[in-house]
């Protein structure tokens, strides 16, 4: 709601106050959809960037409503209105290349964030390596079960880039433990309710054989936890891991029910804005605190094609601090 109001307020400000803000660059952020918590965090961080707060730039966020065509049209709108740069979080890798091409033809730099787009016309890209997260989460589960026994994998929608890359990471880790059997592997479409049903049925079909649960996102791992509880079994008997670090998952980590890896959407958003400003003003110096927070991701004068925001494993030590950020 707050995001929506702010976006509306910004849009109104843009419409009414163009004279006052004539020399301030305008940056549009086209994101695939604002329905889920992760993109909410991303959008809130973008609007909380020091450059936005100090009025050095005007930012407008466009909700792509999970539709590639809507995103394409929003690009056309931004091109028509002469935005100075575009931050792009596409619905999928393959969708959106034409939109990037159109912006490029109009001379507008496009910075990718969070999700890759299959185009070599991006000025630069800030994201996190999904293969790595898939590897890390599977490695956690395998370490917990001592590299032996059976695991199940709850997958994202088959064919989505995050599902493909996280599975690649999952399988890379599983290859290191040849004694571990993948008992079942199926999509629950990132959904907690779907994962719950699937896990209930797997617990029935493979009694006593499932030791580890690899949920390719937190929502599905949380669904598996509820299924285990509903079956009257002890969550502590299972090694369960998710990815993303959504608030419910942080709570579950705190309770000792699962492990999660935080995808720092805030850093992906703020990094992209710094890079967009750099594309507009060549002498711009980055203002976000993330460059100090992640020394392993150097600014390099904003000239790199790709910036890799490190994953943060959520542990009992840092979970309180991470939860405090969500208040």
């Amino acid at each position: 709601m707050r995001t929506l109001l702010r976006t509306l307020a910004l849009a109104t400000a843009l419409a009414c106050g163009t004279a006052a803000a004539a020399d301030v660059p305008r940056i549009g952020a086209a994101v695939y959809g604002l329905n889920a918590e992760f993109m909410q965090i991303w959008a809130a961080a973008l609007e909380d960037h020091p450059a936005v707060r100090e009025g050095l730039v005007n930012v407008t966020i466009f909700d792509g409503r999970y539709n590639a065509l809507v995103q394409q049209e929003q690009f056309e709108t931004m091109i028509t209105q002469g935005f100075d740069a575009i931050i792009f979080v596409p619905i999928d890798v393959e969708a959106g290349a034409a939109a990037v091409q159109a912006a490029h033809d109009a001379g507008i730099p496009v910075i990718g964030s969070n999700t890759r787009v299959n185009s070599d016309l991006l000025t630069s890209y800030v994201g996190s390596d999904d293969v790595q997260s898939g590897y890390l989460q599977a490695r956690y589960v395998l370490d917990q079960i001592g590299c032996t026994g059976g695991v199940v994998i709850l997958e994202g929608p088959i064919g989505q880039s995050a599902q493909i890359q996280r599975l690649e990471g999952n399988l890379k880790a599983l290859a290191e433990c040849p004694d571990v059997e993948i008992i079942a592997q199926q999509t629950a479409n990132w959904s907690r309710a779907e994962a719950q049903t699937l896990m209930e049925n797997w617990l029935t079909a493979h009694p006593g054989r499932i030791a580890g649960v690899i949920g390719q996102n937190d929502e599905m791992a949380l669904g598996a936890i509820e299924a285990i509880r509903a079956a009257g079994q002890d969550v502590q008997d299972f090694a369960i891991a998710g990815i993303d670090g959504v608030t419910d998952a942080l709570r579950a980590v705190k309770a000792g029910d699962m492990a999660s890896i935080l995808q720092d959407g805030a850093a992906q958003a703020q990094g992209a804005l710094d890079l967009a400003m750099r594309a507009i003003q060549p002498d711009y110096q980055p203002m976000s605190a993330i460059w100090e927070q992640y020394p392993e991701m150097p600014w390099n004068d904003g000239a790199d094609a790709e910036y890799n925001v490190p994953w943060t494993p959520v542990t009992e030590e840092n979970v309180e601090a991470l939860l405090a950020l969500r208040q």
């Binding site: 709601m1 995001t3 309710a193 079909a205």
Partner: protein
């Protein structure tokens, strides 16, 4: 047998149509006598033979629990479809009632309304109230303003989802009180609460439709609205009421879902209307209105749950499950039409 039938058909036109009619009549007779219950039994027998775990008590409890949310929605949908209507908004109302009621039962400082957690009864009243309100708006527009139900509830599908996102800020409502969570997680003598609520809703709906004047009016208003009006039935009031019933049950389903998943999720219930309509149609209720039984809907909902469960147990990809469910829906309607031709 096939070639013989074909040669007969080629030899003499009347014989061909005669054969077809008797085939159709046989199908109709089968449908009339055993119908969808036979299909459910057949599927269960097949699954029991092919998977050792299917008939276990725990799996049966799972199937009933997995059928309960869709079953409750489908029972509300039965009332609406009996009056020649449709309610496409139930999935979104599930999410809206979920986040509204959960915000009254949440212990989380960020997501709850001030003063929460309130007693579970109040949270439940808020959820039911939300569903009733959405249903009343649907019913009012359909009954009083004669806007087609498809259009009204399509609008509500969008509006209720939007309100859900506005109300929750797009974030889950977590930290639900133990009392509230018992709606989804508690059990009585080993029977999960969602199943108990599903059974109660079914018995209530069965009684209303079979044994009350209002029930007869629902059938009359759907079967022949003109005749119903002439005989003094207030068709508009009946229409209004069925959308309120559907809305209230969507509210109940939304609370059970939130209680089961542990948080009320704004993305909950997407496309649930389709499974609910499928259960009603598989259960033999005619989309033309006036014909159908809530027992059929019960069996339809169970059949969908059994098929999904069985395919999960056998490790069949969920994408195949969707194809199989699609085939099931069409086959059920063909059976239904054959029955009507026989009548």
């Amino acid at each position: 047998m096939e070639p013989a039938g074909r040669s007969e058909a080629m030899a003499e036109q009347p014989v061909r149509s005669g054969t077809a009619r008797s085939g159709r009549a046989m199908l109709a007779e089968f449908g009339q006598r055993y119908g969808i219950l036979a299909a459910l039994v057949l599927v269960c027998v097949g699954l029991a033979l092919s998977n050792e775990f299917f008939l276990t008590q725990r799996n049966m409890v799972n199937v009933l629990r997995q059928a309960s949310i869709n079953g409750i929605l489908a029972i509300g949908m039965t009332f609406v479809i009996l009056t020649r209507g449709i309610d496409l908004s139930v999935g979104s109302v599930v999410a809206l009632a979920g986040v509204v009621s959960a915000s009254f039962a949440s212990t989380s400082a960020t997501a709850a309304v001030s003063g929460a957690p309130y007693p579970t009864l109040l949270a439940v009243a808020m959820g039911l109230g939300t569903g009733i309100l959405a249903g009343a708006v649907n019913g009012w527009l359909v009954a009083r303003h004669k806007v087609p139900a498809f259009v009204v509830t399509l609008g509500m599908l969008s509006a209720a989802r939007g309100l859900t996102l506005i109300y929750s800020g797009g974030r889950p409502v977590p930290g639900l009180s133990d009392g509230y969570r018992s709606l989804g997680t508690a059990d009585l003598f080993g029977i999960p609460m969602p199943v108990i609520l599903f059974a109660a809703v079914f018995l209530g709906a069965w009684f209303v439709l079979e044994a009350t004047r209002f029930g007869r009016h629902v059938y009359a208003a759907g079967g022949n609205p003109h005749a119903a009006r002439v005989s003094g039935i207030r068709v508009e009031n009946v229409r209004m009421a069925v959308y309120v019933i559907s809305g209230a049950l969507a509210g109940l389903a939304g609370m059970i879902l939130a209680a089961r998943t542990g948080s009320a999720l704004p993305q909950a219930g997407i496309a649930y209307e389709l499974d609910a309509i499928a259960a009603v149609v598989i259960g033999g209720t005619s989309l033309a209105g006036g014909v159908g039984r809530v027992t059929g809907t019960l069996i339809g909902a169970l059949l969908i749950a059994v098929v999904n469960n069985g395919l999960d147990l056998m490790g069949v990809e969920s994408y195949y499950q969707q194809v199989i469910k699609g085939g099931l829906i069409v086959a059920a309607v063909m059976l239904d039409q054959a029955r009507h031709r026989a009548d």
